[in-house]
């Protein structure tokens, strides 16, 4: 790998990522504004400590760690694309893999941000590092989580980076990358099991101390995370020239459905054990579902969430309904939100309530927490947008090293230069005729099939 090639790659991808239509800039501006607001909110937290949040010694984790837990699942869901493609050689999901990995990277960055903003001493993060810090490994589950999350982030950054770089250079990727792809499959399962064990390992909190927590985390991750990936793919399909076959959506919808069904079965088992013969340890479940000692802040959230969960799962279990993508996508939105409620605040807060001494203290997030949370989501979404845009322009063959001569000498952003360059906002080619030629990672001799053309393009569709 020539360093200058790598430099060219980085320059070209950065430029490509920064270039877009009015809609793109508007979206990024809105996300940027949200992040700026979050920056202000976080400065308040830095100044006054976590006392500006709604957390207390009773409910010592709140909105931040709820989102963290949920997003670890979203990140793990990329495995539902990686596994069929790299291990089972399923061609239908191949075009979606890079997108799934992009979503995973965004989700992981959000996870790490949520953990950081939850820390009382973020400036002491170096205490976690081997060599200069004192990582309590292998005893502390939190240390395990730090390791597996960063490892998964590295895998999900480096594999797509290498594949896209190969494509950019018009080279065949070294087959060794498949080893890392398979490693990432196991790693994905491990990040979510480790996160579940973080909670399940605590006998002090009976609500979490169940062997079912890990499997249930995986099931809810594979339905909510895959649902999000479907939504992203649909957005790409309708707004860019990137070809995503209907079959891809059908297969993903099936994965979402099966995962949602398994999730519901486990939920039912949990409810049965909690309520068939209530014990003192059922206090948390009462708090979540019915309220405890007159405190019921989660009740208006959990019932609609589980209701939506059940309805979506039933609808998606009907074959004829699920096969209509247009009808499945709204269900994916509902499912995503429902799992966020159930697995975020619905999982974290009852674990703390009642406290180990039987006290019930309510937790309500403050504006600081809500703003910081929105800002972290905005950051994650903008990362996903940038990564996906770069991946698509390389996959479509619009960004290649061979083609960079004229590219790099052109002014950075002028309407003329833009018109002269092929963009990703071209009218979508006929899926039937071009679909096969767009298989990513194909051998180099198949590549020139979609040479970027110069000259003005037809009417542009913009993101």
């Amino acid at each position: 790998m020539d360093p200058s090639e790598l430099l060219h790659f980085l320059i070209d991808t950065t430029r490509s990522a920064a270039r877009g239509g009015r809609a793109f800039y508007s979206v990024m501006a809105v996300l940027g504004a949200i992040m700026a607001a979050a920056g202000f909110a976080y400065s308040q937290q830095m100044l006054h400590g976590l006392s500006v949040t709604g957390m207390s010694d009773h409910v010592s984790w709140g909105l931040y760690i709820s989102n963290f837990t949920f997003l670890v699942g979203v990140a793990a869901a990329a495995v539902m694309l990686v596994l069929p493609t790299y291990v089972m050689h399923d061609v239908d999901l191949r075009n979606a893999v890079l997108i799934g990995e992009g979503v995973a990277v965004g989700a992981l960055v959000m996870c790490l941000c949520f953990v950081t903003v939850d820390m009382g001493g973020p400036q002491r993060f170096w205490h976690l590092m081997p060599g200069i810090g004192r990582p309590n490994w292998p005893v502390s589950l939190l240390m395990w989580d730090v390791i597996v999350l960063n490892g998964y982030l590295a895998l999900n950054t480096l594999i797509p980076f290498y594949l896209l770089f190969s494509k950019y250079m018009n080279r065949k990727p070294h087959p060794a990358y498949k080893f890392f792809a398979i490693l990432s499959v196991f790693w994905a399962v491990s990040i979510h099991l480790t996160t579940a064990f973080l909670y399940a390992s605590q006998p002090a909190r009976p609500f979490w101390h169940t062997a079912l927590l890990g499997p249930r985390f995986l099931a809810s991750a594979f339905c909510a995370g895959t649902a999000l990936i479907m939504l992203v793919l649909w957005f790409i399909k309708t707004n860019t020239a990137y070809v995503i076959k209907d079959e891809t959506f059908r297969k993903l919808a099936l994965i979402v459905t099966v995962a949602a069904q398994i999730n519901l079965i486990m939920l039912a088992s949990e409810l049965f054990v909690e309520f068939y013969h209530p014990t003192q340890h059922t206090g948390s479940a009462f708090y979540l579902w019915f309220g405890l000692h007159g405190h019921a802040p989660l009740v208006p959230w959990i019932w609609p969430a589980i209701g939506a969960n059940v309805i979506v799962t039933v609808l998606m279990s009907v074959n004829t309904y699920r096969k209509n993508i247009a009808r499945v996508l709204p269900l994916c939105v509902v499912l995503f939100v429902a799992v966020w409620v159930e697995k975020g605040m619905g999982m974290i807060v009852p674990g703390f309530t009642p406290s180990p001494l039987g006290e019930v203290v309510e937790y309500h997030p403050t504006w600081v927490e809500v703003t910081v949370t929105l800002g972290v989501w905005a950051l994650g979404i903008s990362i996903i947008i940038v990564l996906v845009r770069v991946a698509i322009s390389i996959e479509l063959g619009m960004l290649t090293h061979k083609n960079r001569e004229g590219f790099s000498h052109q002014p950075f952003y002028t309407p003329r230069a833009q018109a002269a360059r092929p963009t990703m906002h071209q009218p979508r080619p006929q899926a039937e005729s071009l679909g096969k030629q767009h298989v990513p990672h194909a051998s180099p001799d198949q590549q020139p099939a979609y040479e970027p053309r110069n000259g003005p393009q037809g009417p542009k569709k913009k993101i």
Partner: protein, 324 residues
Amino acid sequence: MSDDPNTSSEPSAQELVDDEDLATWLVAGAEKAQATRRNFLTTMAGAAGAAAIASTGCDTRLWEKYTQKHYKELNAADKQKLIARVEAEAADRYGVEIKVGDPRPLPGVGYAYALNLSYCIGCRRCEYACARENNTSRDPEIHYIRVLAIEKGTMSVEESESDYEGAVPSPDKYYMPVQCHQCDHPPCVRACPVEATWKEKDGIVVVDYDWCIGCRYCEAACPYWARRFNFGAPTIRPSEINPVQGLLSNRLRPMGVIEKCTFCLHRTRVGRYPACLEVCPTGSRKFGNLLDPNSEVRQIIQSKRIFVFKEELGTIPRFYYYFD
């Protein structure tokens, strides 16, 4: 909270307001804020700032603070430096002179605590004596001891209340103070991702306030709800600061770290009793060396009817409840 001797010794509102050095405290706070701004500007000054940092004591402290090593990695000289910094910070922030020591575990000593549930009257004197001894934040209020009033006829803490008011003891209640059980299998120590909390040779679980990253996983792990987090900067009036402090126990804490009961190790390791025991008017609290067959606490644990709170969790506490 009446004048009845058997009630809580919480300081009255009168005491809180009419305090002569409230003004001193406020002035000290303003000066501190100014110092912080100076620090910030100096740090921002870049290369020129480096020389300034080396030349002024205050800025050196800031640098030392952010690069402070773990307690277990300190040699004698490092420890002296740390103690000097802690003492200087107290002078800066509160204008008080404190003396920080670092008593180590005594050989052949393993501490245990026994509390007589038959005699405790729920006056909460231990709770407030503990706060005074250990310099815990007054606002937000942090207490290491939680006194539960439990209905007679049950042993479930689910049926308890901790915010009871009025004269004690109430005829239909009994009282159960809960504090850190200094477990021999401490879930909190296993939870900590950075070894900022550990068990010492005499059985006391301590926290390194310079190393804690404030993740609060230990707080989630504790089945006795014995850990407290400094969500905001702890506040305490200079006149109320206990100047005799231990590096691993009652020294003034920064914002964003966990703290907990340490069996008053700065007292007990030099042969004194914990503050909660000394103040108890009923003699319900017993403390001593579990390894000494003749100690009172050993005799109690061997011969009395013992109740170990949440024994089923396998935490092996060093805190025992007993009945007469």
